[in-house]
C-alpha cells in the first residue's frame, strides 16, 4: 500500500452515539443506550477498511454516522480534512456525490415502485443538476456496464430480479455519481453462497478500476481475511483492536479478537470439539464500568472490571488494542 498515513479520507475523533430509549412519560429514569463510545478511526485513501463485530457492537451505527444518516451525540467526523458532522444539508450536498453506501438487504434497499433507470438516475439528477438528460442516460448506461448489469434491466422493476442481481443494481446506484468512498454494510450476508463470491469480486474489481476506498462492515471474519487491508474489531460500541488484516490473523492481541477468530468454522474441522463457555453481550444500557469484554474474558483481572482500557499502540507490532494485558 502506497497511500500516505497522514492523509486519511475519513476520520472520526471521539465519536459518541447515545440513544435515549422510550420510557413511560412518568418514569424518572431515562435509560440511554450507548451505541458508540469514543470511536477514533482513520480510513486511508484507497484501502479497504473493515469493521468487524457481532450484532449490537455499533458497527452499523458507525457507518450510518459517517454517512450522515445519524447525528453523533458528540465527537467529530472528517471527510478529506473537512468536518462534516456539523454541516447543514446545503454545505454537505457537494460532498454527497463522493460518499455513497451499499446496504445489507437487497430486497429492501431498492424502492419497489421504481424501475432500475429511475433508481440510478435519481442521484445524478439531484446531486449533479448540471447534467443534461443525455448525460444522465450515458452515465446510467456506463455504470450498468461497470457493474455487470444488462442494459435491458433499465425498464424493469426490482421484483423481477434475484438477490444477487439486486445487489448489483444497489452497487450501481452507489457508484453512479463516481464516489471516492463507499460504506458497504454487510453487502453479501443476505446472499446465497454461490452469489457472495460474485459480489465480492465485483467490489474488488471496481476498487482496482476506480481507486475506491471502502469501509466494509461485516460479521464474517473469513471475508475480512480475503478482502480487507485493515480491520477494526468492535465490541459494545468500542474499538477493541485495530490492525492490518495480516497482523490480526497472524497474531490477534485482544482476547475478544482471539475469541472471534476461534469461532470461525474451519473446513479442516476439529475446532468445535472443545466445550465453549456461554457468553453474552452485556446490557448496552448499563455497560460494565471497566472493559466491556471483562465479563467474558478468560484473562480478566480486577483492573479490567474497574478501569476501561484505552486503545493504545502496542510496541511490538504496531497493532492498536484496548486491553490492559495485550502486548
Amino acid at each position: 500500500m502506497t497511500h500516505s498515513i497522514n492523509d486519511p479520507i475519513v476520520e472520526t475523533r471521539g465519536l459518541e452515539m447515545r440513544f435515549s430509549l422510550p420510557t413511560h412519560f412518568l418514569s424518572r429514569k431515562k435509560p440511554v443506550l450507548h451505541a458508540l463510545s469514543g470511536v477514533d478511526i482513520q480510513i486511508q485513501k484507497g484501502e479497504t477498511f473493515c469493521v468487524v463485530g457481532e450484532s449490537g457492537c455499533g458497527k452499523t451505527t458507525l457507518g450510518r454516522a459517517i454517512m450522515g444518516l445519524l447525528t453523533p451525540s458528540s465527537g467529530e467526523i472528517y471527510f478529506r480534512g473537512e468536518r462534516i458532522d456539523t454541516m447543514d444539508e446545503a454545505e454537505r450536498k457537494p460532498i454527497r456525490a463522493d460518499m455513497q453506501m451499499v446496504f445489507q438487504n437487497p430486497y429492501a434497499s431498492l424502492n419497489p415502485r421504481r424501475n432500475v433507470f429511475q433508481t440510478l438516475a435519481e442521484p445524478i439528477r439531484y446531486l449533479m443538476p448540471e447534467k443534461s438528460g443525455a448525460d444522465v442516460r450515458a452515465q446510467v448506461e456506463a455504470v450498468l456496464d461497470a457493474t455487470g448489469c444488462d442494459q435491458s434491466w433499465q425498464r424493469k422493476l426490482p421484483h423481477e430480479f434475484s438477490g444477487g442481481q439486486r445487489q448489483r443494481i444497489a452497487i450501481a446506484r452507489a457508484l453512479v455519481t463516481n464516489p471516492a468512498f463507499i460504506v458497504a454494510d454487510e453487502p453479501i450476508s443476505a446472499l446465497d453462497v454461490s452469489i457472495q463470491a460474485q459480489i465480492l469480486n465485483l467490489l474488488n474489481d471496481l476498487q482496482d478500476e476506480r481507486g475506491l476506498t471502502y469501509m466494509f462492515i461485516t460479521h464474517d471474519l473469513s471475508v475480512v481475511e480475503h478482502f480487507g487491508d485493515r480491520v477494526a474489531v468492535m465490541y459494545l460500541g468500542q474499538v477493541m483492536e485495530l490492525a492490518t488484516t495480516d497482523a490480526i490473523y497472524r497474531d490477534p492481541k485482544h482476547p475478544y479478537t482471539q475469541l472471534l477468530l476461534a469461532a470461525i468454522p474451519r473446513l479442516e474441522g476439529g475446532s468445535f470439539d472443545a466445550p465453549r463457555e456461554p457468553g453474552e453481550l452485556p446490557d448496552p444500557v448499563n455497560p460494565p464500568p471497566g472493559c466491556p469484554f471483562a465479563p467474558r474474558c478468560p484473562i480478566a483481572q480486577n483492573i479490567c472490571r474497574s478501569e476501561r482500557p484505552l486503545l493504545r499502540e502496542l510496541e511490538t507490532s504496531g497493532t492498536m488494542a484496548a486491553c490492559h494485558f495485550a502486548e
Partner: protein, 328 residues
C-alpha cells in the same frame, strides 16, 4: 438396519389450475444410528423441504407425491397423526432457526419443558422438573433451576436456542433434525451452540441431520454430507472426502468460491448465474447452464446419482471411494 431410510422422496406444490411444481425431485438418504449428516444447499434448493417431509409436516397445499421415509422400520408417511405424534417430538426432535417457533411466549421455560415431558412419558411433575433442570444444565445454561421460571423473552437469542436444544433433548431422541439452528446468531454464539450440538450428539449416540448453507459448520460438525441443488441431491458421501475432493462441479464451485480457499487479494472463483427457480428448471441436469464441464449429454438427461455423485463428468473420476458406494 439403518435408523432412517428415505427413498425416492418427491414433494410437489400445486401451481395454476392443474399443474404442479416439484420442490423435492427424488431424494434418497440413509442415516445410521448416531450418525451426523449435513444437508447443504442454497435457498430454494429444497433442504428445509426435506426436513419437513421426513417429519411428514409438509403443509397444505404441498404434498409428498412419491417415496417413503422409514424410521426404525416404520414408514412415517403412512402413520396416522396419532401414531406419528408418538415419534415426532419424542424419538425425533427438531431445532428450528427461530427459537420462537418452538417456544411459547406466554409460558415459562419450565412449564413448557415439563409439559413436553409429560406428554411423552408417564412421570410425576416433580420428576419431570428434575429431568428438565438436568437438561438445562447439560446445555450449559447458567443457574438452570432459576431459569425454569423465566419467560422466553427474558432470555437472549443464544440462551433461547440453548433452551430449544434442551427441549429437543428432553425425551432422549434418537434423531435430531436441526434446520439452520445458528443462522440468526452471532459468530461466537454459533460456535458455542454448534459445539454443544456436536458434543451432545456424539456423547449420547444421537443421530443428527443438520441443514445449513455453511460448509464450514458442516465440516466441523458432521460425518456425512449431502449437497442439494434444485430439489435434488447432487453429491453425497463422507464430509471429509467431499470437502477434500469434491466431485460434482457444483460442490467444487461452492468450495472454491469460499474466501478462505483463495489467496489474499486474488480473484475469488465464482459460479456464474444463480440457481434456477423450481418453477423454471432447465432440461437435463439443473446445473448445466452454470457448469463449465457441461456437454450436450447434460442438457439432454438428468445424470443418475452414482458413486455418490449425480454428474456425467465428475471431477476426480477415478477416485470413486468405497464408502461413496456404501452411501447408496
Amino acid at each position: 438396519m439403518a435408523l432412517l431410510d428415505v427413498t425416492d422422496l418427491h414433494v410437489a406444490f400445486p401451481r395454476g389450475k392443474k399443474g404442479e411444481v416439484e420442490a423435492l425431485r427424488g431424494v434418497d438418504l440413509t442415516l445410521e444410528k448416531g450418525q451426523r449428516l449435513g444437508v447443504v444447499g442454497e435457498s430454494g434448493a429444497g433442504k428445509s423441504m426435506l426436513a419437513f417431509a421426513i417429519l411428514n409436516l409438509i403443509a397444505d397445499p404441498g404434498r409428498v407425491t412419491q417415496g417413503s421415509v422409514t424410521f426404525d422400520g416404520q414408514n412415517l408417511l403412512e402413520l396416522s397423526e396419532r401414531q406419528i405424534r408418538r415419534i415426532r417430538g419424542n424419538r425425533i426432535s427438531m431445532i428450528f432457526q427461530d427459537p420462537m417457533v418452538t417456544l411459547n411466549p406466554v409460558l415459562t421455560i419450565g412449564k413448557q419443558m415439563i409439559e413436553t415431558l409429560k406428554a411423552h412419558r408417564s412421570i410425576s411433575t416433580r420428576e419431570a422438573r428434575r429431568l428438565s433442570i438436568e437438561k438445562l444444565n447439560l446445555v450449559a445454561i447458567p443457574s438452570a433451576a432459576s431459569r425454569m421460571d423465566a419467560y422466553p423473552h427474558e432470555l437472549s437469542g443464544g440462551l433461547r436456542q440453548r433452551v430449544v436444544i434442551a427441549i429437543a433433548l428432553l425425551t432422549d431422541p434418537e434423531l435430531i433434525i436441526a434446520d439452520e439452528p445458528t443462522t440468526a446468531l452471532d459468530v461466537t454464539i454459533q460456535a458455542e451452540i454448534m459445539s454443544l450440538i456436536l458434543r451432545l450428539c456424539r456423547d449420547n449416540d444421537v443421530a443428527l441431520i443438520l441443514i445449513t448453507h455453511d460448509l464450514g459448520v458442516v465440516a466441523e460438525v458432521t460425518e456425512r454430507l449431502m449437497i442439494m441443488y434444485a430439489g435434488k441431491c447432487v453429491e453425497t458421501g463422507r464430509t471429509r472426502d467431499i470437502i477434500d475432493a469434491p466431485k460434482h462441479p457444483y460442490a467444487v464451485g461452492l468450495l472454491k468460491a469460499l474466501p478462505q480457499n483463495s489467496a489474499k487479494g486474488a480473484k475469488l472463483y465464482q459460479i456464474p448465474g444463480s440457481m434456477p427457480p423450481i418453477t423454471n428448471l432447465p432440461t437435463g441436469c439443473p446445473y448445466h447452464p452454470r457448469c463449465e464441464r457441461s456437454t450436450d449429454k447434460c442438457r439432454a438427461a438428468m445424470p443418475p446419482l452414482e458413486h455418490g455423485v449425480a454428474c456425467f463428468h465428475p471431477m476426480h473420476e477415478n477416485g470413486a471411494r468405497d464408502d461413496a458406494e456404501a452411501a447408496q
